[in-house]
Symmetry: C3
Subunit: 350 residues, 3 copies
């Protein structure tokens, strides 16, 4: 992280309007509270206004409407977090891998590895696989037969791509992810299970990110499909024949059952479960740990579950859930009885 | 997938009754809707009857009672999905691995590897391990000391079997699975945790399938046991000393806590949680994302949880959960009061 | 497991008071029910008193107050499970790895590996990494640039430590764990996501255990921090900038969202979900499968969720959840009406 830039360079590279000292040197990023005189920070949340006013940051990325509260140099933008995202990459240590195949990698003679690609130590690449230009196959990754790793895509370490899986350009796959494992297809023969061969594959678009230890199963007949710009966090499970639309982001520990289609521009928070064979419309947002059991055809926010509370409160109240139907019926009866009684009393009074 | 068979060959191999052109050549599988003139399909769900009537498939696997709706050749059976399962394997690309130990694998001198077994690139096999006939140890798998991989069992890629784990015959273990990691055994010493050594192992029967990134912990004293024919999907956690009965199938992201015994012929859907030290009878079926907190001694279907709904509806209603006990009490009071009131009114009227 | 000790040796090594035959030879551990004449067992749960009375164990670890029920030799202690934990290690097979770097490992010339450390087959270690004395890097592990593995810490197999991750002393990391993967940081640009570089790292203290396939993300700006003595089970997800306090133990399949701080001495049971940017006080205990959505500032036990019940019971009652708010309002109305009615009736009677 020894890189250093002038504020003018950063403004130009990241798409913001500079206000202040163009030659000010920036050598890192920090929070408003902790930034020093050579670090840049950002302001995107009103609750940190106190820190903005007191910051010693070399410069702050913020909205023009917040400029009055900033004591120093500024990068003005309508989307401070987006500019911040771009700035972080200026200070991200460059991996600096050398093109070529490491001596300890095992590459099938029938695989095609672009000369600009990197195949790191211990990687194993099967027959017919294609590794395109500037792609990176990290240490101990395994790539199956006829799999395709598109231009500039990176498998960081110990990633497994099974046979015939295809990834587009500029994808980033974190360690331990498994793409193209068999879908869970079983036929029952008088109590005993027989496996249904999973003949489809997984097709992943461009600019897709897949988190650590996430699993994406291959399709039964057709392919499982992850479209351009999808972002998947860690430990997500995507079952066979799922389709995830463009630019949908899914947080960790979410599981999506077979043949479900998720629209584009959706967000699923962490720990969500989605049953199989349903559809979520574009722009559906599911809250953390919710279970989606039916198609959601309208965009909007959906939530389920009963959140944690002090154990005694939970115990006392949750026990009543099993009486809910009875309570509803008794409430109805009471309403009727009371109405009748009220009627009689009114009659009596007349 | 260049294989091709006559319909008669498929009928015989997969156990169905042929009706139509025995010499019809089949070169692949497809859905009823998309099948072409050289592809076989199946009909198992009444909601696709329209597609059955219009299919251009070379042949369809279906029940005799549905034959009237099929325009072409048929394979008749009482269990179409089972025959379909068998047919898919006719068209599954054969892995075609060459027996022997890859030059880049590391095999301890004291391991016994059958001459018909395959040990792929980058695999590491410890002292005393036994790899039986026709077993397959995929790329970058790790097998601990004295572990046993039974006849015809396959570890696809980056699978870890820890020391002394034993797998039976014809098991299939998907990438990233870890079998035999330590159970979570801790003793508390005035706030600080001390580890309990996990001295048991994991014993897995025949024909067991374990999904990608699933973890199965070794037992504390005795072994964790997975019986014949069990099928585990991806990202399942099986804690120490769990026992899973024959032919039980468990879907992805389910977690089973320590010392719990699950019967045979059970199904647990995705995302289920099961607490420790309980028993589930044979034939228990647990719905997706349910949490099982006590023994289930009767077969049947069990469900829990509150499913996702529009966020505002959830917010309004779930807030009331903390009032449930009070509501139940107030309801009871109302009933008593009303009964008394009604009595008095009746008295007054008399 | 051919080790054998006198009962006196065990008593001294494990910190318990011997009562009985000091020379009695112990060659293994077993449950009270199954122990034979050369095995030691423990009694810590009143429900097994029957087995204590009938045990044939060579010796039993138990509280002085239970001594009257023990037919044989005893190790007396106020914390039988803790002494048991120590005894198990006497009979744990020693790994017996030879110091040095395996020929098939790939170690960057700029990494520093202590002469007493073990680097097993297929491991890959990056530039600037430091492997301290007696540390163990298991088969097919990957260690990034400038990562530090402290004295006596062990990565069992296929563990990935990404660049600059630092582990303290005597940590134990189970297979498939990924430490230092990128946090899930995304900025939205008109529907499209841009990645926020994750410039922090992960810092792990001493005596930390991390389960199989658990993932711990690196921080965005600052580090993710796991303090001394924390124990993490399998398949846990720890998001970026989480902090977990000393001696907190977390069971399998739990997910903790970004920037959340968990106190010391907490326990989170299996399958718990914790939202981001909140704090859990020291001594908070969360029950299995609960979802924590707000800061818990008081120690105590917290629980959420609706547990599994027979499906029909669930169906009937859970459908009413969507009427809860309406039920609460109607109950209130009934109470008012009834009170009024009662008043009128009383008035009428006067």
């Amino acid at each position: 992280m020894s890189a250093s830039f002038t504020l003018a360079e950063i403004a130009e590279r990241c798409g913001a309007e500079l206000r202040g000292d163009a030659d000010c040197r920036i050598s890192g990023v920090e929070t408003l509270e902790h930034a020093g005189a050579d670090q840049i920070s950002f302001f995107n949340n009103a609750k940190y206004r106190k820190f903005l006013r007191e910051t010693r940051a070399a410069a702050v990325i913020l909205r023009p409407s917040d400029a009055a509260d900033c004591p120093g140099n500024m990068l003005l933008t309508d989307n401070p977090y987006l500019v911040w995202a771009r700035v972080t990459h200026c200070f991200s240590p460059s991996p600096n891998h050398q093109a070529g195949i490491h001596a300890s990698a095992t590459v099938d003679a029938d695989a095609r590895i672009d000369a600009s690609a990197v195949v790191a130590a211990g990687a194993v690449i099967g027959a017919g696989a294609v590794i395109e230009a500037n792609a990176y196959v990290g240490p101990n990754c395994v790539i199956g037969r006829e799999a395709v790793l598109g231009q500039g895509s990176r498998l960081l370490a110990s990633v497994v791509l099974m046979d015939r899986v295809r990834l587009g350009k500029n994808c980033l796959i974190h360690p331990g992810a498994v793409i193209g494992s068999d879908g869970f297809g079983l036929a029952n023969d008088q109590g005993r299970w027989e496996k249904v061969a999973q003949l489809g594959s997984v097709v992943i678009g461009d600019n897709v990110e897949v988190g650590a230890n996430t699993t994406i199963d291959r399709g039964a007949i057709h392919d499982t499909r992850i479209h351009d710009g999808v972002k998947l966090d860690n430990q997500i499970q995507v079952a066979h024949n799922v389709e995830i639309g463009e630019n949908t982001a899914i947080a960790a520990c979410t599981g999506i059952s077979g043949s479900t289609r998720i629209g584009s521009g959706c967000t699923l928070a962490g720990g969500v479960g989605v049953v199989g064979h349903i559809e979520l419309a574009d722009g559906v947002h599911v809250s953390g740990a919710s279970v989606v059991s039916r198609s959601l055809r309208e965009p909007g926010v959906y939530t389920g579950g009963v959140l944690a509370m002090p154990h005694k409160m939970w115990q006392k109240n949750i026990a009543r859930i099993k009486q809910l139907d009875s309570m509803a019926r008794r409430l109805k009866t009471l309403e009727k009885t009371l109405a009748r009684l009220q009627g009689e009393q009114d009659d009596g009074r007349d």
